[in-house]
Symmetry: C2
Subunit: 425 residues, 2 copies
């Protein structure tokens, strides 16, 4: 296992990554898949090394009073490592988007014009606690012919280094250069800034973490950044919604996994159905100990019920809760709901519940979030659920990719013009 703190300047990593990407980029699918299978096997063979490193991270985490939730996120078990290896094998089975011709046609002048998918080149990925991201992102990058420079959280440094050592050792037995996957092993934050400005070598930055990390990347990076993963998600229950269905959807969106970006943050309810619906919602959510932050109208309807309800504060409709808390507001109708969402949404996932087709269409037209739902939970915004076979990140920006990003979103294209002495007139 490599010693820590060897990285003091990223230029050599950048150069090595660029070089590796030029070797890896044109490789055929079987060569890349062989490398993935080698990584999976090595992970199985050396699970003990990984678990030993992880045990140290967990021990440090306990000593540093990390929360139980965080400790669970960074914990690897025999079973979890085995599943990581299986995940890598599944990536090997996915279709390879690289080399696909997006279109091909003959121009009037006789030149054949092709638009062909190619790797992006070198990816820089900055992420937080979970060590499984190290394996996931490395596998998805290799599958798409991209070299990657990884920078994980300091809480999982030892686990990540063990995993990268597994990856690099495996790659040495394959055609893929070892430097196709590199890790920044120095936890100095100045190196993050250096990575963000190394546009000579790095083609895309993917931050996976909280709002602060995304802001840092937007502010500092001279490399195109995929921002996202922050979801202030809304459900609007219209006058004509099926109320039983609405209660089920709201429960699912809020409590099925409250810590993730596509969980529900704010419930908007049409005034006409609020007196009937809100007490039912409150009863259901009380079973899960959800705290309700209600606007004046909603509070009046809920204050005597079983739920823990408090009056909403001025910032409560601009929160991504990531916890069992829900903002609730009564609105006068569709227009007010749209206006509230346009003002407060982070354009991640928003839903309308209605049987009125005209209202559904108006909502879908007006709300330009990455994912917009009609009569469904916001929790579906996910690469797996959308059938992408993988998920690199969830983008909420407008360029390149929106919503769940799979393998295709790790590619770009080039135009190829095949002529026979063609000159422009």
């Amino acid at each position: 296992m490599p010693a820590t703190d060897t990285t003091t300047s990223l230029r050599p990593l950048g150069q090595a990554a660029k070089h590796a990407s030029r070797v890896l980029g044109p490789m055929r699918t079987p060569q890349k898949n062989d490398a993935l299978l080698a990584i999976a096997d090595e992970l199985d063979d050396r699970a003990d090394d990984v678990l030993a490193a992880n045990a140290q991270d967990v021990e440090d985490g306990r000593a540093n009073d990390l929360s139980d939730a965080l400790l669970d996120r960074l914990l690897l078990t025999e079973q979890r490592v085995a599943r990581l290896a299986q995940d890598v094998r599944r990536v090997a089975e996915l279709p390879d988007p690289v080399g696909q011709d997006l279109d091909r046609r003959d121009l009037d002048n006789g030149m054949t014009l092709i638009r062909r998918r190619i790797p992006i080149g070198v990816l820089g990925v900055i992420y937080e606690a979970r060590p499984n991201v190290t394996i996931d992102i490395a596998a998805l990058s290799l599958k798409t012919g991209n070299a990657v420079i990884l920078r994980g959280g300091s809480e999982t440094l030892r686990s990540n280094l063990a995993l990268v050592d597994v990856i690099q050792s495996a790659l040495e037995r394959t055609d893929v250069p070892r430097d196709a996957v590199q890790y920044i092993d120095n936890p100095d934050r100045a190196l993050v800034t250096e990575l963000l400005r190394m546009d000579e070598y790095v083609d895309m930055i993917i931050p996976r973490g909280g709002a602060g990390l995304h802001r840092l990347c937007r502010e500092q990076s001279t490399i195109p950044v995929i921002t996202g993963g922050i979801g202030i998600c809304h459900i609007y229950v219209d006058e004509d919604a099926k109320l039983g269905q609405a209660v089920d959807i709201i429960e699912n969106a809020k409590v099925q996994r409250p810590s993730v970006c596509n969980a529900l943050d704010t419930l908007l309810v049409h005034r006409a159905v609020a007196p009937t619906l809100l007490p039912r919602v409150a009863r259901r959510l009380a079973e899960h100990d959800v705290e309700l932050r209600a606007d004046e109208d909603a509070f009046a309807l809920l204050k005597d019920g079983p739920a823990h309800v408090v009056p909403a504060g001025p910032d409560d409709f601009d929160q991504e809760w990531l916890a069992l808390v829900l903002g609730i507001k009564v609105v006068d109708g569709l227009d007010a709901a749209i206006q509230h969402i346009q003002t407060h949404s982070t354009e991640h996932s928003d839903a309308i519940l209605t049987t009125n087709q005209t209202h559904a269409a108006q909502f879908v037209d007006a709300i330009n979030s990455a994912a917009v739902y009609v009569n469904a939970s916001t929790r579906f915004t996910d690469g797996g659920e959308f059938g992408l076979g993988a998920e690199v990140a969830v983008s909420t920006q407008k360029l390149h990719a929106r919503g769940p990003m799979g393998l295709e979103e790790l590619t770009t294209y080039k135009w190829i013009g095949l002529g026979d002495g063609h000159v422009r007139s």
Copy 2:
């Protein structure tokens, strides 16, 4: 016509643009086309106002000793204004990409999942001398449902303000809000930096200008930027090229329009054909007074010929000439050519001339420029030539769009999930 220097903070422009984009975005194609036709008519009707403003810009330009080439770029004539109006009418005739469903399928759980093209939102476009860009970009933005904030060069301020006044007056007679097209009328450069950081309101920055402007945008912008338009373009003549064809292609790529980004900058020639080919190239280029910057081997072959040839300096293979100058280098073969291009190219447009299909395929695989040609001139990298119907910019970055950007590249997409009480299990 609005007075100049009224803009001291861009926030009101940003807010107005965001608001306009929400009204414009969901509009149907006929509404947007009506607005385009109104602009074209207004341009015809008020050509005199535009020409009067332009005459002042030209007068100032002469007083400020602008070059004849620059003066010609900023000059508008009756004919040029009429052509601008025609260009707007042609944009109205183009198919509208907004609202297209990129794909639509039923998931296993019964939910219908649609990926639908939508406008990007608010564009910020920063450009240099040509006033026709004002009309072009406004028309392409409106067609794709995007609001736009324009910032042109100070040399054409009066012309641009006159054109924007024409646009806004025309829009007032249509459904499209007047603020869908706005102009930063204060030439203070600090406002450019403010624009680049107004990520709350602006979704994409398109710089159209030199390397310095692109660098500024990459360094300062917190908004995704489309960089490009800088082309150090190469042609590699392989051992098995048709030499007569090669001379024609090189001439076309270098002299047909030397001031543009897809013009040839560096010629690489296989050692085996250099003695035959280079004197023929030099003779042809001498007819156009092209200055040759030749490496040692090429200089030896050319020094006694008719062309103006000088030994290449150390930076001469890292120049985008934009003029009748050409770098020439003799290489040992395909690998050396690929390596030179990978080191010096800006990934805009590069070509191989060869009859060897294996070499052509190797070149196309290894060179990941936005456009890669076999036996054709680099000059084809253009939205019109590629059949896109329009050109917003030429991207050389990897994200979102590469090469010529047409209407589709001014759009993004959202995912739409249509359910009937769907919850995630």
